[in-house]
């Protein structure tokens, strides 16, 4: 296999050509951001399950020491970005859509930067896939392009499905972002090593390295590094969003990944170029993921550029380092200008997915225009890279017709923002679509809960009915048994009772007779003794008062 750049590229449907704003951050080589006074290391897990902490407040940690692990196989290990003391483990604002704080480790650097590395597996070909995957898991490598999927999880899935093609995504199609571009220029050899490791693990029989044609310097660096590597270098036209995974696979092979399935299920394994680099660092050099290249850009900065940043560095420190002019900042965006998140605060840390931070002026990213009526111009349909009808989805979303939105395949929307970008009515289409997706999810959850409740209720009813029948049966059995017992034992007991009663009666009669006899005797004695003593009669016991006196 030879390195070639002349191969068919299937043009993606739709797409836009936004101003790329890339030059402003490409003026200098990658620079280092000095150690901040505090690091805020987010413990976010891709599965949103809580992370399992490995350290306590007050612990001294070395650089690269594991701070937290995932609670399951899809979990992500988080490491200390430098050596220092754990000041607190608390919720802290992070760059996210919701603006809700997340659990973070607050680390006070000791300035030593004492790094405990894992043993280097420099000759990675000597190790099997399982060993290398466990190393990648241990090093906490996740998708640095924005996906944040743990690479080990992805690779395990790749081993379960027969992967035939490894795609390295170096398109970096979103405006403003140049971190991959800078990385390719600086570390092409590490990238190639990372790709070789991925090839070794996945046993894919071909590998395509895709890069957009707007990065000539990176292209040259990669072309040199990829020579005789067996890795195909493919230059794709610069069109947004060419780097979206499923679209990139289409560009390169003409295969469409079926809706609702993963690329890996069809034999495609896709990795971002910077993830490949991080994998090489983890395997070959034993370095866990503690830093990344972040593009810090925007016209409100004096020194825009690409910086090597420790994960957890507060963004305000970055901006300070890039000499921000606070009076010029009109928006602060985490990510690119088309899919990034507008930040409410600059006191948020750099995450593994922080490819870019934009501190823009009002001229660069103007305030959103007021929304006007849809005139059905169809520009959105023309640019939609997944061939949706954004305009009709908008009507469905606006009128909350969730079923209609689902029928129009809302779930295939990749939220690239191309439709909103071209809409002459300034309708925030993507925002509508996100809201409707959430509404559908809520409706589905409600339906699921309702179904579960109904099932539970029906089960309860059935159980009650069954219990009632059982109880009745038990009662019937008991009654029958009791009746049978009665028949078997009734005669002797009655006879005994009768005898006893008769005996009692006889006893009582006898006692009465004895008493009467005694009274008779006494009265006889009294009559005979009447002459002797008249007064003694008064002391004779009265038969009527006998019971009372005794």
């Amino acid at each position: 296999m030879s390195t070639s750049t002349t191969r068919t590229v299937w043009p993606i449907p739709g797409g836009i050509y936004p101003l790329d704003h890339k030059q402003q951050s490409l003026g200098t080589a990658i620079r280092q951001v000095p150690l901040p006074s505090q690091l805020v290391i987010a413990l976010r897990q891709p599965s949103h399950a809580p992370a399992v902490l490995c350290v306590n407040v007050g612990d001294h940690v070395s650089k690269g020491q594991c701070l937290a692990q995932g609670s399951d196989a899809t979990g992500l290990s988080i490491h200390a970005s430098t050596s220092g003391t754990v000041l607190a483990i608390t919720e802290h604002a992070v760059p996210n859509e919701s603006g809700l704080p997340e659990l973070c480790v607050i680390l006070q650097p000791d300035g030593e930067n004492h790094w405990t590395k894992l043993p280097a597996l420099a000759d990675f070909r000597n190790y099997d896939a399982a060993r290398l995957i466990s190393r990648i898991a241990e090093a906490g490598i996740c998708g640095l392009g924005g996906g944040a999927m743990p690479s080990a999880t992805k690779l395990r899935a790749a081993l379960l499905n027969k992967v035939h093609t490894l795609v390295i995504n170096a398109c970096e199609c979103e405006p403003f972002i140049t971190c991959d571009d800078a990385l390719m220029q600086a570390s092409a050899d590490d990238i190639v090593a990372g790709i070789q490791i991925l090839l070794h693990i996945s046993a894919a029989n071909r590998c395509v390295f895709a890069i957009e044609d707007n990065k000539p310097a990176a292209l040259n660096a990669m072309r040199a590094a990829l020579t005789d590597s067996g890795i195909e270098l493919v230059v794709v036209p610069s069109i947004y969003p060419s780097g979206a995974e499923k679209l990139l696979i289409y560009s390169l092979t003409g295969s469409e990944i079926a809706t609702g399935t993963l690329a890996v299920e069809q034999g495609f394994l896709c990795f971002n170029v910077s993830t490949a680099h991080a994998i090489a660092r983890a395997v070959v050099h034993g370095e866990v993921l503690v830093s990344r290249i972040t593009t810090i850009t925007g016209s409100a900065l004096v020194n825009p550029g690409n910086y090597c940043v420790l994960l957890g560095t507060p963004i305000n420190e970055l901006l300070k380092h890039a000499a921000v002019d606070q009076t010029k900042v009109s928006s602060l965006i985490h990510g690119g200008s088309l899919t990034g998140i507008a930040l409410t605060s600059n006191n948020v840390p750099v995450l593994a997915t922080s490819a870019c931070v934009i501190a823009s002026t009002a001229a660069e990213i103007p305030a959103a225009e007021p929304e006007q009526n849809c005139i059905r111009c169809g520009f959105c349909t023309e640019v939609c890279p997944v061939l949706l009808l954004p305009q009709q989805l908008y009507w469905a979303s606006k009128s909350e017709q969730l079923q209609q939105a689902t029928t129009l395949n809302l779930h295939d929307c990749i939220e690239c923002g191309a439709c909103s970008y071209v809409c002459p009515s300034h309708i925030p289409l993507v925002q509508y679509f996100r809201a409707t997706k959430a509404d559908i999810r809520i409706a589905e959850e409600k339906l699921l809960m309702a179904n579960q409740s109904r099932a539970r209720f029906e089960f309860h009813q059935a159980r009650k009915a069954a219990e009632k029948i059982q109880e009745e049966q038990r009662r019937a059995t008991r009654a029958t048994l009791a009746h049978q017992q009665l028949e078997q034992t009734a005669t002797p007991s009655l006879a005994q009772a009768a005898i006893a009663a008769a005996m009692a009666r006889v006893k009582a009669k006898k006692a009465l007779q004895d008493f009467a006899a005694a009274v008779d005797a006494a009265s006889n004695n009294l009559t005979t003794a009447d002459s002797q003593a008249d007064n003694t009669a008064a002391y004779l016991p009265n038969p009527d008062q006998q019971d009372d006196s005794r």
Partner: protein, 343 residues
Amino acid sequence: MNAIQLHSSPHAHQGVAISHLMQQVLLACVPGLTALVFFFGWGTVLNVVWLVLLALVLEAMVLRLRKRAVALHLGDYSAIVTAVLLALALPPTVPWWLSLFGITIAIVVAKHLFGGLGNNPFNPAMTAYAFLLLLYPDLMTRWLLPLGVAESVPTLADSFAFFIDVEPEFGFDAFTGATALDSFRNQTSAQLVSEFWQQNPLMGAWSARGWEWVNAGFLMGGVYLLYKQIISWHIPASVLSTLALLAVLFYDGGSSASHGSPLLHLFAGGSMLAAFFIATDPVTAATSKRGQLIYGALIGLLIFVMRSWSAYPDGVAFAVLLGNFAVPLIDFYTKPRTFGHQK
């Protein structure tokens, strides 16, 4: 830090607004309007000015009634485009009250009663035109004779007399007559097309006199809109090619039963105006590219049918409105296949 803008992604915009699209459409009307003025005098300009004024006032009033942001929606230029398109379609001789009636139907009834811009199922200008044509057929067919047939175009004073509904100095009949399409449709003498052409002064170099240049003007404007990517080629190409194809099929070698040559049809009446400016109104057109081809073909077919077999040879408006009717159906059956779904 100053007040930071917060909005959902994307944070960038192409910068093209509705107002820009509408302004381009207005600009593209200029060549056609110029030709109309050249061949038929100032009447159309009076119509344009009067209708634009009325449209703005009516639009503002209705927006206010509907409690909408008046400045924002007036600024989208859509009312002005409706006014201009209606003015271009109306004969230059209509009195002020007729246009007032027409624009009221367009803005108030056809547009805002259906929910305002974007919600109207029928093209407002064409709805108004159709209403007027049915209610005032005599006034609406009182077209001027083009320059070349008439010795001169009406002066501004004459046009103004028409406008204020006063009979001009030389009488209406000095200026007005049937349109070329009308006389072609209603010819009774069983002439060959070539004979008709030679004998009828209404016929020009390749189509109807005067009209061929008006249509050329609108074609020019349409090409400009295509070049500026304000409209896509699908609808106009489909309208015109269907119209031309039918004309070829029914040309019948130019016999007395012929319905006229493709060139006659393409460059007479409202062909180009309809193909590039009316049928392409996105609000009332089909949305998918395939749907637009079907929609355009339907309009082309209906234009030809109207001209050849109906009582309204200049009834392009009906063709467009019937096309509008079919849009929901067309849209339903031409949904594109979503990426990653079964072919």
